[in-house]
C-alpha cells in the first residue's frame, strides 16, 4: 500500500515500518550508549551480552575478521529479528513478509560476499576460484551464486508471509484468541529465521574470504596425493 511518493520512489507502509524500526534502533542505541561505564548496569550488560554473543558467533566462523564483519552480520540479525517481530503488533505487517524487502536483503548479501571476498583476496585471486579446479565448473558456480541468493530471499519471505497468513486465516475461522499460539510460534520462527539468514550470510561471506585459502589447501592435497 503506497502512502505517498518521494520523487521516483513510492513510499509504502513497508518502507515506513522499516523507517520506524531504524528510528527506534537509532534512538535506542544513542540513548543506551551515551553513558557507558566500566561497571555496567543491567541495560549495558544486556547490550554487551548481545553484541559479544554476535561477535563470538562470527569469531567461531572467521576468527580474524570478527570485528570487520560484526556491523554487517549483526545488523542483519537485529534488523531481521525486529522486522519479523513487528508483524505481531496490531496494524503492522512484518517487512520481511514482503518479497521486495527480502530480495533487497538478499541482494545486499550477494554483493557483500563479492565485496568482502575481493577486499580479502584481491580481484584476480577472488574471481579465480570460479574457474578452479576446472573452467567447466564456472556455470555451476554462477548458478549456485544466483540460486542461493534467491533462496535467501524466498526462504525468509515465505516463512514470515506464511506465518502472517496462517494467523490471519485462523483468526477469521476460529475467533479472537485462537491465533495466540500461532503468534507465539511466530516469535520463535522470527528468531530462527533471523539467525538462519544471518548465519547463511556469514557462511557465504566467510566462504568468499577464504576461497583462495581453500583452493591452496586443495592444491596441496592434490600434490600430496
Amino acid at each position: 500500500m503506497v502512502l505517498f511518493k518521494m520523487g521516483p520512489f513510492a513510499i509504502t507502509s513497508i518502507v515506513m515500518t522499516t523507517w520506524l524500526i531504524m528510528l527506534a534502533l537509532g534512538v535506542f542505541s544513542w540513548l543506551a550508549t551515551r553513558n557507558l561505564t566500566l561497571d555496567p548496569g543491567p541495560l549495558q550488560a544486556m547490550l554487551e551480552g548481545v553484541v559479544s554473543a554476535m561477535e563470538e558467533s562470527i569469531y567461531a566462523v572467521l576468527p580474524d575478521r570478527a570485528q570487520q564483519l560484526l556491523p554487517f552480520i549483526g545488523t542483519l540479525w537485529i534488523y531481521i529479528v525486529l522486522a519479523n517481530l513487528v508483524g505481531v503488533l496490531p496494524h503492522l505487517h512484518a517487512p520481511t513478509g514482503n518479497l521486495s524487502v527480502t530480495a533487497g536483503l538478499a541482494l545486499i548479501v550477494f554483493l557483500s560476499v563479492h565485496w568482502f571476498g575481493i577486499r580479502s583476496e584481491g580481484l584476480r585471486r577472488y574471481f579465480r576460484h570460479y574457474i578452479i579446479p576446472n573452467p567447466i565448473l564456472l556455470p555451476f558456480h554462477l548458478i549456485s551464486e544466483i540460486t542461493r541468493t534467491v533462496a535467501l530471499a524466498v526462504r525468509l519471505f515465505g516463512n514470515i508471509m506464511s506465518l502472517e497468513m496462517a494467523a490471519l486465516l485462523v483468526l477469521l475461522v476460529a475467533g479472537l484468541l485462537a491465533p495466540v499460539p500461532l503468534l507465539m510460534l511466530h516469535i520463535v520462527e522470527s528468531l530462527v529465521q533471523a539467525y538462519i539468514f544471518g548465519m547463511l550470510a556469514l557462511i557465504y561471506v566467510a566462504g568468499a574470504m577464504q576461497s583462495q585459502q581453500n583452493l591452496e589447501l586443495d592444491d596441496k592435497g592434490d600434490g600430496n596425493e
Binding site: P8, F9, A10, I11, T12, I14, V15, T18, W19, I21, M22, L25, G26, S29, W30, A32, T33, L36, T37, L38, P40, Q44, L47, E48, V51, S52, E55, Q67, L70, P71, F72, G74, T75, I78, Y79, P95, N98, L99, S100, V101, A103, G104, L105, L107, I108, M161
Partner: protein, 249 residues
C-alpha cells in the same frame, strides 16, 4: 507477492543506513567499553603479575636477609658463648682467689683461736697449778718455813748489788720515810732487831720500822722501803712463778 522496485531499492538504502547507524551508535561504543574493560583487566593482571614478581623478589630478599640474620645471630651467639666462657673463667679465677683468701683467713683465724685457746688452757692450767701450789704451800706454811724464808730474806738483803743499795739509800734519804715489814706469822723481838739492823745496813741509816701480820702472804715477808718493795713470801713467789710461766708460754 507483488514485487515493488521502489521498496526494493529503498530497502537496500535503508539497510545500509541502518548498518552505519548501528555501527556508529551501538557496536563501536559497546566494543569500545568492552575493549577498555579488557584493557583494564589486562592492566590489572599485569599489575598483579608485577606485584607478584615484586612480592617474589621481596620474599627472596627476605629469605636472604633472614639467612644473613641467622648467620649473624649464630656468630653473635658464638661470640657471646666465648665471652661468657672468658667471663666464667675470670669469675672462677676470682672465686678461687677469694676462696683461697677466705681459706687462708680461716686458717689464720683458726690458728689464732687455737693459740688463744691454748693460752687460755695454759693460763687456766697455770692458775690451777698456782692455786694447787698455794693450797699445798698453805698447808705447808709453818713458822719453821717462815724461819727459813727469814734467813733467805736476810741473805738477799746482804747480797744486794751496789747500784741497788745506792738506789735504796737515795729513797731512804727522803724525810719522814717509814719502813714497813709484813709477815704471815708474828716476828719475835730478836728477829725484829736483827732485821732492823739488816735494813739499816742496806739504807745506810736507822729508820723506824712498822711491823705487821698479813696471813695472805701464806709464809714469808714483804718489806716496803718507800716505793721499793722486797718480796720474800710464798704468795708473791707464786705470782712471780705464774707470771714467769705465762711469759714463757
Amino acid at each position: 507477492m507483488n514485487f515493488d522496485w521502489s521498496t526494493f531499492f529503498l530497502e537496500i538504502i535503508n539497510f545500509l543506513i541502518l548498518v552505519w547507524i548501528l555501527k556508529r551508535f551501538l557496536y563501536q561504543p559497546i566494543l569500545g567499553v568492552v575493549a577498555r574493560r579488557g584493557a583494564g583487566i589486562e592492566q590489572t593482571l599485569a599489575d598483579a603479575k608485577r606485584i607478584e614478581t615484586e612480592a617474589d623478589a621481596l620474599k627472596q630478599q627476605s629469605l636472604r636477609e633472614r639467612a644473613q640474620w641467622e648467620e649473624q645471630k649464630e656468630a653473635a651467639k658464638a661470640r657471646l658463648r666465648e665471652e661468657l666462657e672468658v667471663e666464667r673463667e675470670r669469675l672462677m679465677g676470682e672465686l678461687e682467689t677469694a676462696v683461697a683468701e677466705e681459706r687462708e683467713r680461716r686458717r689464720v683465724l683458726d690458728e689464732r683461736q687455737q693459740r688463744d685457746f691454748k693460752r687460755a688452757i695454759e693460763e687456766q692450767g697455770i692458775a690451777q697449778g698456782a692455786a694447787f701450789s698455794a693450797r699445798l704451800l698453805g698447808r705447808l706454811a709453818t713458822p719453821e718455813l717462815e724461819a727459813q724464808l727469814y734467813a733467805l730474806l736476810l741473805e738477799d738483803l746482804r747480797s744486794l748489788r751496789a747500784e741497788d743499795k745506792r738506789a735504796v739509800a737515795d729513797v731512804a734519804a727522803t724525810s719522814g720515810l717509814q719502813l714497813k715489814v709484813q709477815s704471815a706469822f708474828a716476828l719475835d723481838a730478836t728477829r725484829r732487831a736483827e732485821l732492823a739492823g739488816a735494813l739499816s745496813e742496806v739504807t745506810g741509816r736507822k729508820l723506824p720500822v712498822e711491823y705487821g701480820e698479813n696471813p695472805e702472804l701464806v709464809a714469808g715477808f714483804q718489806v716496803s722501803i718507800g716505793p721499793w718493795i722486797l718480796h720474800a713470801n710464798l704468795r708473791d713467789e707464786l705470782k712471780f712463778f705464774s707470771g714467769a710461766l705465762r711469759h714463757a708460754g
